[in-house]
């Protein structure tokens, strides 16, 4: 009986986290389209509900009632598993995101490594989908994204090392608390810029959306998918984008901490501050989508390996030597 109670409590907690995440993913799709439209002097989705807020709901309904087509020559098990893997990986990562000092589902010691591991597994959904479709466009898209995501993961890993040098712990709450006096975006500003661009590449967002470049590959790895399975890919993608924004907010923008430590600001709960920071980063993502043209593939690889990786490595050496010289290394 006791076990059952514990299990139910955990299930409630998980639902209390997952339902808001899924709803905000739907809302964020609307926000993305809206920002994109405003940059191009269009209106964007504004018909369904007030300001078009219910547009994503209408889209979801449409996807649910559409037929799921499974190509006859596809590898059926892997074809069906691919969107499930994408969606699951995008959602399980939220378990370690701290919304305040106490509001976190799993306060594990290696939180940042867990986040990094889950985001690096995200490539499997795409590869599985692309390979199992047994068709040329999805396969090319999958190959492209495999190379792209592995390349940019390297620089994200090195950037995380930069932050960890200043914190001295892998726990996400410790990382947030270490920014009490100064957000890491100020001393590590170049790393923040590189992190942001690498996050764009990691989530296959424009200008790095080569895996699904519609002019060359129809829809990339999603070409053969339809109905709810396509929608799951799409939800997983946006959940991943939100996750990368959350990661950026925690690593560089002080997580759930209020920007200034004075009376009226400290009243606002930490979850609100974190959501505001995630939204700020997401709007930047949406703006980049609207204003930057797509990279060529060799330019993408050059940027990842020849520019970002050396820069972030040099910055690791700089940070480490600065901290060592001024005796600021966090030792406990």
């Amino acid at each position: 009986m006791e076990y059952l109670n514990i299990v139910f409590q955990e299930v409630y907690k998980i639902l209390f986290l997952l339902v808001p995440v899924l709803v905000s993913v739907a809302m964020v799709v609307w926000l993305d389209r809206r920002v994109w439209a405003f940059v191009q002097k269009r209106q964007g989705p504004n018909v369904v509900g007030p300001f078009g807020l219910l547009q994503s709901l209408a889209d979801a309904l449409k996807y649910i009632f559409k037929e799921i087509i499974i190509p006859s020559s596809s590898n059926k098990v892997i074809f069906i598993l691919a969107p499930i893997v994408t969606m699951t990986l995008a959602l399980i990562a939220w378990a370690v995101i701290p919304f305040s000092a106490t509001q976190v589902l799993a306060d594990i010691n290696v939180g940042i490594l867990y986040l990094f591991a889950v985001s690096s597994l995200g490539v499997y959904g795409i590869i599985m989908g692309g390979w199992a479709s047994n068709s040329k466009y999805p396969f090319l898209g999958a190959i492209r994204s495999a190379a792209q995501m592995v390349s940019y993961e390297v620089s994200i890993g090195v950037i995380i090392i930069n932050v960890l040098l200043c914190v001295g712990s892998l726990n996400l709450n410790d990382i947030v608390i270490a920014q009490q006096n100064m957000w890491f975006v100020i001393p590590l500003f170049p790393m923040f810029v590189i992190f942001f661009i690498s996050a764009l590449a990691e989530t296959n967002r424009p200008p790095f959306d080569l895996p699904e470049a519609e002019a060359e590959l129809v829809a990339g790895y999603q070409t053969e998918y339809s109905g709810m399975m396509y929608a799951m890919f799409w939800l997983g993608e946006y959940a991943n984008i939100l996750l990368m924004c959350a990661m950026g907010a925690i690593l560089f923008l002080g997580g759930w901490m209020s920007p200034i430590d004075v009376y009226p600001f400290t009243l606002v709960p930490g979850a609100i501050w974190l959501i505001l920071k995630i939204l700020l980063l997401f709007i930047l993502f949406a703006l980049v989508k609207a204003i930057v043209p797509r990279y060529r593939y060799d330019q993408l690889m050059r940027l990842g390996w020849k520019v970002f990786l050396p820069l972030s490595l040099i910055w690791v050496v700089l940070t480490a030597s600065y901290l060592f010289y001024f005796n600021l290394l966090p030792v406990n």
Binding site: F116, V123, A147
Partner: protein, 210 residues
């Protein structure tokens, strides 16, 4: 304790079954997917015994990077056909004795390691002392790796670097006649050298390429 046992047996059964399926499945890509499943369940086992850092590094390095490249190669090359040939041909029985010898050797080695570990009592003391001091897994690993074993650690890193440089040197070839884009050249072009204004007389035209 019961819950712990249930989780342990679930993960270890998945690990063993998927390890068998890596060799047993006929489709090469399926083999790689089973290998990934194996890696993931083993990292879960690492986390269960408290080695959270090792478990996560296993996920990041093996599953996140090595297996992706593995999958990449298996998908690009037509390994599937070659593997089918192995299964179809009669010669496959030749590999069985070698495989048996290697697996027996590994088995004996594992037995020896476990035996030696069991008869060395200090290790248990160290285990106990670690659990008493409230220091995380990652910290204790770092304290050992960067103090007592710093030279071994650095040398293994150098070996990896040499292997990487060697692989690049072996596959690198200089091709002639390839047009390369030079960003500096493109950006530093001035209007004077790029544009020329000509007087064009009617019925005569101009010659541009000279």
């Amino acid at each position: 304790m019961i819950a712990h046992a249930i989780f342990f047996y679930t993960f270890s059964i998945i690990a063993v079954v998927s390890a068998i399926m890596v060799t047993a499945s006929k489709n090469t890509v399926h083999s790689v997917f089973f290998l990934i499943l194996d890696f993931i369940s083993i990292s879960c086992l690492f986390i269960m015994i408290g080695a959270e850092f090792l478990g996560m590094i296993m996920l990041i390095v093996y599953v996140g990077a090595v297996a992706v490249l593995f999958l990449f190669v298996v998908m690009m090359l037509n390994v599937a056909q070659q593997k089918n040939q192995w299964f179809a041909g009669q010669q496959s029985s030749r590999h069985i004795p070698i495989g048996l010898i290697i697996s027996t050797l590994i088995f004996v080695e594992v037995i020896i390691v476990i035996g030696g570990w069991k008869y060395k009592p200090e290790i248990f003391d160290i285990n106990n002392s670690i659990s008493q001091v409230s220091i995380s897994n990652t910290h204790s690993l770092g304290q050992i790796l960067y103090t007592d074993y710093i030279h071994v650690f650095q040398i293994s890193g150098m070996i990896l670097l040499v292997a990487m440089v060697g692989a690049i040197v072996l596959t690198f070839r200089q091709r002639s006649g390839v047009k390369r884009q030079s960003y500096i050249k493109q950006i530093s072009r001035e209007r004077a050298e790029g544009v020329e204004v000509l007087e064009v007389q009617s019925n005569k035209g101009v010659k541009l390429d000279d």
